[in-house]
């Protein structure tokens, strides 16, 4: 077993490991996880899915946002062991082959990032927001995206990007989330 920052004491991880089954970006995986491993650490440290970022590890920044059973969730505050049977989509799972997700395209089109650290969380969060169907106006987008902090202050362009995709979606209801 590879070293991971979620391992507090040598050996204890293996003794306490609990088997779980997760579908991650469409791939089903059987994993043994120590109960204290967060979904975020599991993704980043063990599965090499480093697109999901760790900004604060306290639920305060949204950089770790992923979709669990279609709902946006902070991966840093979810213990992986509690998710047995869940379907998880990370930023790595949004594109269809070489075709970027409409939100990814819109973020590029609108220059909705600078350093890019918050971007995977912003895009996963925006995908969750679209699935929820609660945001119609720009104010609503801003309020319902407030769980994603951008230290580079790209908020106007992030809001533009999401607004753009939401508009398209109204005229094209069949678009996948």
């Amino acid at each position: 077993m590879e070293a991971g920052i979620s391992r507090p004491l040598p050996g204890i991880e293996d003794r306490h490991a609990v088997p779980i089954r997760l579908t991650i970006n469409g791939v089903e995986r059987q994993l043994d996880v120590a109960p204290w491993t967060s979904l975020l650490d599991l993704l980043r440290e063990r599965l090499d899915l480093t697109g999901t970022k760790k900004g604060c590890d306290h639920g305060q920044c949204g950089a770790c946002t992923v979709l669990i059973d279609g709902r946006r969730i902070n991966a840093c505050l979810k213990l992986a062991v509690t998710l047995d049977g869940a379907d998880i989509v990370t930023i790595e799972g949004l594109a269809q082959g070489d075709g970027l997700h409409p939100l990814q395209q819109a973020f590029i089109r609108h220059d909705a990032f600078q350093c890019g650290y918050c971007t995977p969380g912003q895009i996963c969060s925006a995908a969750g927001l679209m699935a929820e169907g609660r945001a119609r106006t720009r104010d609503e987008i801003r309020e319902l995206m407030s769980g994603n902090i951008c230290r580079c202050g790209c908020y106007p362009n992030i809001t533009d990007a999401i607004e753009d995709v939401l508009k398209d979606r109204v005229s094209e209801p069949a678009m996948p989330v």
């Binding site: 590890d57 306290h58 709902r71 946006r72 505050l77 979810k78 969060s125 969750g128 309020e143 769980g147």
Partner: protein, 337 residues
């Protein structure tokens, strides 16, 4: 994070059995417990994951109210059409709290039991009577911007951070529990405690006792309510002061009033005397001012939070005006009208 054993019971009896030892914590959404365990403030030796228990439904009660299962996520509760239509004060308070993704994980039971956001409670390098009983209170001589103005004690000046609980206090909800000594029904006013000389105890829940549901009585004050939350930024921040205001009017005269405050005390703050004083009077500024004065009787600043007293007074009046005019504070458009 310290190691712990993990159980995932599927039945309530099994969960209570698992919880009968010491050092046990129930895990719901995890948005507070996991954070506190990582910070080494909560140190359970056994974690009981209650997410597979059958506590996820919202049901009608025989008396016309709603019974909300302890595991209903905050977002589902806020957007439930029965809650939106009949208890909009609760929807509004929920949507004023945390962020969309946190609300997706946070549960009804966990929200009530979230712990204070006092900086010193989180800082292991400083004394805190709530975290480490008898060690002292660093907040009293520290930064007090977010601290209590009502009901504090020499041992603790922390406030309870929940928005949902403030709305539940105004709606006079009841907390349904089950535990080693059987089933209980606890009025929300008796659920959280003032700190006194045991600030480590936030609520009157017993060790190993499980919240199963929250019950709302039929009266939801849907025509005249407002949840006004004032904070350091417009979203995704805890309340400095919040007000849940609810009125029942008959020809512009107050027939019934409820006012609960958040961000100012160790529990949602109510004073029925302030509410009674409004009854029979026109729904207007004079009465609202008088009610605010009574509600804030005995308030005391800690220095850096002295501003909360006039802020609370004005917020109470404004929230009551919004309620009376049927123009509740929008959770999206933060302009205060």
């Amino acid at each position: 994070m310290r190691p712990f054993s993990y159980q995932r019971p599927t039945g309530i009896a099994e969960a209570l059995r698992d919880a009968s030892g010491g050092g046990v914590r129930f895990l719901a959404g995890g948005t507070n417990l996991v954070d506190l365990m990582r910070a080494d403030i909560e140190r359970p030796t056994a974690v009981i994951d209650i997410n597979r228990l059958p506590l996820g439904e919202i049901e009608e009660t025989a008396s016309g109210g709603l019974r909300i299962g302890a595991l209903v996520p905050n977002s589902d509760l806020a957007y439930d059409s029965r809650v939106e239509v009949r208890f909009p004060l609760l929807s509004s308070a929920l949507l004023a709290g945390a962020s969309a993704q946190l609300r997706n994980a946070a549960t009804t039971g966990g929200n009530l039991l979230q712990r204070t956001r006092c900086y010193y409670f989180y800082d292991l390098a400083t004394p805190c009577n709530k975290r480490d009983p008898g060690s002292g209170c660093a907040a009293k001589s520290g930064l007090t911007r977010i601290h209590a103005i009502l009901g504090a004690s020499p041992h603790c000046i922390a406030v309870h951070p929940s928005d949902m609980a403030v709305a539940l206090a105004a709606l006079e909800a009841e907390v349904l529990t089950t535990g080693p000594s059987g089933d209980r029904r606890i009025g929300i006013a008796d659920f959280h405690r003032l700190p006194g000389d045991t600030p480590q105890v936030d609520t009157n829940l017993e060790p190993g006792e499980l919240i199963t549901a929250i019950e709302l009585p039929a009266e939801g004050f849907a025509d005249h309510y407002s949840y006004l939350k004032l904070r350091d930024r417009l979203s995704y921040a805890f309340a400095l002061v919040s007000v849940a205001a609810a009125l029942r009017l008959e020809d512009d005269v107050v027939a019934e009033a409820r006012i609960a405050l958040g961000g100012v005390a160790h529990k949602p703050w109510r004073n029925p005397e302030a509410e009674r004083l409004l009854v029979g009077r026109p729904a207007g500024r004079d009465g609202f001012d008088a009610a605010a004065r009574v509600l804030l009787e005995g308030s005391e600043g800690q220095g850096a939070n002295d501003f909360k007293i006039p802020l609370a007074r004005r917020a109470i009046v404004r929230a009551l005006e919004q309620a009376a005019a049927a123009t509740p504070q929008s959770p999206t458009d933060k302009r205060i009208r």
